[in-house]
Amino acid sequence: MSGLLATETDRRADAHAPTAAPRTGAQIMCEALVRAGVDVIFGIPGGAIMPFYHALPEYPGLRHVLCRHEQGAGHAAEGYARASGKVGVCVATSGPGATNLVTPISDAWMDSTPMVAITGQVSSPFLGRDAFQETDITGIVLPITKHCYLVKDIHDLPRVFAEAFHLANTGRKGPVLIDVTKDVQQTRAVPVWDVHFDLPGYGGPAQLQMDGIREAAILLDQAEKPLIMAGSGVIWSDGHDALRALAEKTGIPVITTLHGKGAFPDDHPLALGMPGMHGWVHVNRALQECDLLLNVGGRFDDRVTGKTSTFAPHAQIIHVDIDATEFGKSIRVDVPIHGDAKEVLLALVEEVQPRRADAWFAHIEALREKHEPKQTYRKRPAGAGLMPPDVYAAFNRMARERPCKVITDVGQHQMWAAQLIEWSTPRSHITSGGSGTMGFSVPAALGAALACPDEVIWVICGDGGFQMTNQEIATMVQEGVRNVRIAIINNGYLGMVRQWQELFENRRYSSTPLTGPDFAQLANAYGVLGVRVESPEEVDGVLSRAWDHDGVAVIDFRVEREVNVFPIVPQGSGIGDMLVEVGVQA
């Protein structure tokens, strides 16, 4: 079969490149990656992807990072993408290799992260016959990918790879999976790189909708209590400068969502902070009082809106999104503007009149004074040892002098990081938001560290999440990665679940107490620096030492076990209903 294919292809390719030699499918895959500008891929070999791995050494421009688990490879690709703005690539074999990618693919889908996942598949004659390590991975990832391909014809490879990178990295970004049968990897053909996309249903870049922009500008000019809310779309479009220009021209205060952190500097006078379930009281109050809300590049996640029927009840809503599917999905929209966040922001800056919103801003400032953010974290129970805010305060102080990227995991430590660290630059804050994937941070840091080798990449994670994926420290060591530092906020609980159990389930701590190994010794066993910190006095010294250390460092911060994230909006409530302490409503 392959001989026939090669002959046929030779003839076809002759017209384009008479001297071109037949390549294996595996070689074509590698060359397609090089042509897409890929320099690092994260993966693990196995039976059905072995031909690809056989070809890989012939392409020295493709650095392969051998991860310890395919989930790690997927999150590393996400971390690479989020830190660099480029497409992250991960590779796995069929069956369990492919299913282990499902969690990071789902994570990338929820957080609109550009990713191409490549999986080997059993040879096409075995498809559907329950062959060894056969899993219908395209069937599994159907609802959590922007698109997915099963390649059964070697001639499709150049087009499929080109389309996959185009889809992953344009419009609303997201994951694309390419499943390649083993026989396609093994057979030979002359690749034709002059490909034509077969994507009649995929829209090109959205046209700038000037009608909506002018309508929005008039509303922004006239509103008495306007707010801007910035989401991750601002960061993906590099729209942070345009956002700042709009805020400064209009005097409109800016809220940044969890994924919008870094889109607007937290130390800017117009910065209000984060909204939603763990947002500050003055931010949620401002949302509930505002008469105009401009949401740029956010999707009105339920952690932002709380009960949707009571969200921003007095506001006209302008929603700027690159994905028209988002309009009205969760929240009614008065002026939808379909487009790239940066382009729309730039157009808005041109259209709006210079104005101030001093009275409104003063009102929010009064709210901020009345409901002082961080007040709960200033309280120190008698006899308390190391409190989590001690770590964040020291970290924040040092981060002003030493720029870095921070990758957080999921849970209490993540919300403390969002609340207590001042974020000032795009891509400095990377976390798993929509999917809430514990175990994201350590492998994502591996990817970010390779994308940004000259920056220090901090991981802040909990002891629960750390124990899910810390094996990727071994990958960092093998790959010579030296710019990752890991701070474990270790409270011996699955802390956020414990907090809910404390607040809403009468302190029934069902399956949340958690033990672990001595993380400093575990770090040593991996061959990296490991330090345990148990008192507030040690924090500055150890953080500083880890920062300056030439190599991966793990700090085990043994914090007080039952500290809560406040404020909190109980699930199902409106964002106006906030607890600021146990039993205390704002």
Binding site: G139, L142, P143, P200, G201, A324, T325, G328
Partner: protein, 170 residues
């Protein structure tokens, strides 16, 4: 087969053009499954454009528009319309095998009255066909039911929006 999805659910008709690829239909119908909406009928076949299939779906749902938006986002969907409130023609074909021994004449009369056709007659049954609107087919089937329906197959609704009667003013 059609099952209500809640107090406010009603019947919607959605027409989509999608690429004639393996898995494309799967992606489309999956968006209804995700929300627990039951698809009442689905019909798929070639459209006027080579390589593009036309799908007509009928579904009981309380709010189908978010799904239509998500359908539109699918890479392989070229175009999608919720035609529920638009002036349109709907057609469906039913094949029915009905028990018939000494009632052949009666059944043949019903079929003729409903503009159906008798396709086959055997010793104790008849196979009949009707092409009409889905509602007329419902009625046709109810007329035949007392005689004993042994087998029933419906093609699913196909729909086409009527062009405006006056393209200048419409």
């Amino acid at each position: 087969m059609s099952r209500s999805n809640g107090a406010h659910s009603s019947r919607h008709t959605i027409v989509a053009l999608l690429q004639d690829h393996p898995g494309a239909l799967n992606r489309a119908v999956s968006l209804f499954r995700r929300r627990g909406y039951n698809i009442c009928s689905v019909n798929v076949g070639p459209s006027e454009v080579d390589g593009i299939s036309r799908v007509t779906l009928t579904v009981d749902a309380d709010d189908v528009n978010p799904v239509v938006q998500q359908l539109d986002r699918l890479v392989e969907i070229v175009r999608v319309n919720n035609v529920t409130t638009l002036p349109r023609l709907e057609r469906e074909t039913a094949l029915v095998r009905v028990r018939a021994a000494d009632t052949r004449a009666e059944i043949a009369a019903i079929v003729a009255a409903c503009s159906g056709r008798v396709l086959d007659v055997s010793a104790d049954s008849m196979m009949v066909e009707q092409t009409a609107t889905p509602r007329e087919i419902d009625d046709f089937i109810e007329l035949l039911r007392p005689y004993g329906i042994e087998e029933l197959s419906r093609s699913g609704c196909i729909a086409m929006v009527r062009p405006p009667r006056n393209p200048i003013t419409d």
